[in-house]
Symmetry: C2
Subunit: 160 residues, 2 copies
């Protein structure tokens, strides 16, 4: 009866779980190795063995992750050899649209997880400077911080 | 002997794995439920039971994730009750610095995983418009796309 006791917390129902685009995105790319596979494809690796080697992912798990990315339309696969059949992988436009997510993951690591030797890789912007990415508002163009944002939920207030 | 056969791929050594800030960041927050716990703390939940309820995370796994976030300095815990001891959780400044990562994960889901009913939650910028986040270069202020970036590796070219 404990799990149904309203005296403590009320009954837990599935509607208590917040429906949110972050959770939905993580359902697609949040499993271990998925985003590293996407990174590797962005950096030019296109063969399974190369992605294994550069990410360190276990082969069977990477196979599953690539199939899932393909099923969701982020990755395309084409055969480049017949016997045995081998495939080349590449990102679709949808896959490439994850670049801002990876840019911000990279920036967090560059900022907080890097010693005096500096980041293992940096990105140079066409302006000539190394990229320090900042989030701006598309509407007004201004830089955005958490303090500038108000959470807007729908009428039920149970989504977020 | 297959795993050591240089005829196929050459020996796989740990130095083949790309050292990269994305991988380092995912080592800290890339496990399932970690980023959703951070989201929940950003949205104001501060008790374990509330985070369980709003994320749907299994209790034992969430406990492990929160301890890891605490060990890495992203989360602080303070007791608010003695018998039994219960804790309140809150993000540190380091934890809050993940906001841009979550903003971009949210934006990807808003853009690609939302039906005609619209996003379950939106953020309003102080300018009055709903936030559509864009990455800009801190140096020149311009909006950045993948095409504007060049990957710079160090001399070994094995890091990325």
């Amino acid at each position: 009866m404990i799990s149904n006791s309203p005296a403590i917390l009320g009954p837990v129902t599935t509607t208590d779980v917040r429906d949110c685009s972050i959770a939905r995105t993580l359902e697609v790319v949040g499993e271990k190795w998925s985003l590293l596979a996407v990174r590797e494809l962005m950096l030019g690796s296109d063969r399974f063995e190369e992605i294994v080697r550069r990410t360190g992912a276990p082969r069977d798990i990477l196979t599953t992750r690539l199939r899932k990315l393909e099923a969701h339309g982020l990755v395309e696969r084409e055969p480049y050899q017949d016997r045995p059949v081998r495939h080349r992988y590449r990102l679709t436009a949808l896959g490439w649209s994850l670049a801002p997510v990876l840019t911000m993951l990279r920036d967090w690591g560059d900022t907080h997880l890097v010693g005096p030797e500096g980041p293992p890789v940096t990105l140079r912007h066409t302006c000539g400077e190394l990229l320090r990415p900042r989030i701006h508002c598309a509407a007004c163009g201004e830089a955005v911080t958490s303090r500038d944002l108000e959470v807007v939920t729908d009428g039920t207030s149970d989504r977020g």
